[in-house]
């Protein structure tokens, strides 16, 4: 039986940022309408919806997000399912939508992601985000979410000699890339000095090592191979979708300097796509904190373990480098509306593969990868895309 391909026929997202004037529903409608227009289809062509959202219960007092989205985009009646895996909720929604088409059951399926984070005060949003880690044995004892990544950073520094300059170079690159991205939250550059002197959050991590609180929504429309060829001249194909888990709490892992779920998901994704890491031209990785990008490029095999800082410092991960990482600006500077992030990563890859990434276009982009992480690494979804 020949494997059927799954294509991307439409993408749409809101600008990421603080949208005081927009509700969760407004965000969802905004991104959804753009994606449907991009795909050139009618609402009635859509078979099913998957939505990724992390904490609408605590952030806006609303659960039952699948039905809400179907209702507000005018598709009452069709199946709608919310999936959640903390900051990887979007990536998991993409995966379920992909599997829905891949199974042959449906022709056109929507994967959306959204989070409305600024309706509550920042400390309350921080409490919500702490639910991504282990509430009973980490957060209870005062481990904030940045602190979990700081604990990983310390081990990475200790074991590999990674420097704070290297970690900070990730942020410098992210802000530079975001300055070229019209949908990014922070469209300004920062210097290494600014990053290294920014306010302390969880040492060694400072404010400019941390992704922000963001409102935003992102939508991607998937279709069967036949439908994709029928509907678009510039298709993007999903070649792999892999998911893996690790322990919920950091302290239960064998290593803090390697993210094992990412290693497994990456390996499985390469196998599914029938390629190796050498074939990846560029990637969007989950840099909720700058150290996370360094650990991601190592886990995905773009360099040896311990070399992530060096390849960043050397410029190998820049837009014109050997393996461009986070051309969108990443979570750090594009913004991180948690549930939307995994979808927005896929949108950046799709735009690059279509050659529509404007000033931040990667040359000859043929194969791209997304790496979406939940919590401190307990969930990792990896997807691979090609022209």
């Amino acid at each position: 039986m020949t494997e059927k391909k799954v294509g991307i026929i439409g993408v749409g997202m809101t600008k990421f940022g603080e949208h005081w004037d927009m509700s969760y529903r407004d965000l969802v409608i905004g991104a959804g309408t753009k994606a449907i227009m991009d795909a050139g289809i009618e609402g009635k062509d859509i078979n099913e919806i998957y939505v990724g959202s992390m904490s609408p219960g605590t952030l806006i007092g609303q659960e039952h997000i699948g039905a809400l989205v179907a209702d507000y985009v005018g598709l009452v009646g069709i199946g709608a399912t919310r999936v959640e895996a903390a900051c990887a909720s979007g990536g998991l929604a993409l995966r379920q939508a992909y599997l829905s088409v891949k199974s042959g059951r449906n022709d056109i399926v929507v994967a959306g992601g959204a989070e409305k984070m600024t309706d509550v005060p920042t400390p309350q949003a921080a409490v919500s985000l702490a639910g991504a880690g282990d509430e009973e044995w980490e957060a209870f004892n005062g481990a904030t979410f940045p602190a979990l990544y700081a604990l990983m950073a310390q081990r990475h520094i200790y074991e590999y000699g990674t420097t704070l300059e290297q970690i900070s170079e990730v942020s410098v690159k992210s802000h530079y890339n975001a300055s070229l991205n019209p949908t990014a939250q922070f469209r300004f550059k920062v210097t290494l000095e600014q990053v290294m002197n920014s306010a302390p959050v969880a040492m060694p991590l400072r404010l400019l090592h941390c992704s922000p609180i963001t409102d935003g929504a992102a939508t991607i429309i998937l279709a069967s191979e036949e439908k994709t060829r029928e509907l678009t001249d510039n298709p993007v194909w999903i070649c792999a979708s892999a998911l893996s888990t690790d322990t919920l709490a950091l302290h239960d892992r064998k290593s803090l300097s390697r993210t094992n779920a990412a290693v497994i998901a990456g390996r499985n994704a390469y196998a599914q796509a029938g390629i190796t890491q050498e074939d990846i031209d560029f990637a969007e990785v989950h840099d909720c904190f700058s150290i996370a990008e360094i650990m991601a490029v190592e886990a995905l095999g773009f360099c040896d373990f311990g070399e992530g800082g060096k390849i960043t410092e050397n410029g190998e991960t820049g837009i014109d480098g050997r393996i461009p990482i986070n051309t969108s600006g990443g979570l750090k500077a594009k913004g991180h509306p948690v549930g939307a992030t995994g979808i927005a990563q896929a949108i950046e890859v799709a735009l690059q593969l279509r050659g529509e990434a404007g000033e931040r276009q990667v040359k000859d982009a043929e194969i791209g990868l997304t790496h979406n992480v939940g919590g401190s690494g307990a969930t990792c979804a990896v997807h691979i895309f090609s022209r």
Partner: protein, 133 residues
Amino acid sequence: MTKGLASYWRKIPQRYNLIGTVCRKCNNKFFPPRDFCLECRRLGKIEEFKFSGNGEVYSYSVVHAPPEGFEYQKPYIIGIIKLDEGPMLTAQLTDCKPGDIEIGKKVKAVFRKIIECGSSGIIQYGYKFKPCN
């Protein structure tokens, strides 16, 4: 805070006295306690186990942006401690300054106030770790 108090009360023996579990079949020790041995699975024989409270710093961070209930301790040190008996846990480091701590430093468990929410009056206790001399 949206959390209830029930989950706190339920874990008082663990939080006050570092009582975890051991699997008598494979001798693996668990803290935080697990009632299910990850190795032996259904065949495991789980019993309570009191840890000595001795260990060393595996990693640490100084928290300057504390969550609700931790403001009065700011900045504080959070660490991952490797207990002498094997497992690791997450806890605050106390009775010391950031400069006193390094990876590998020997520490021991002490009983302290963990959280104090002024608005709700909630006070909860548990383990922290302090350097051995």
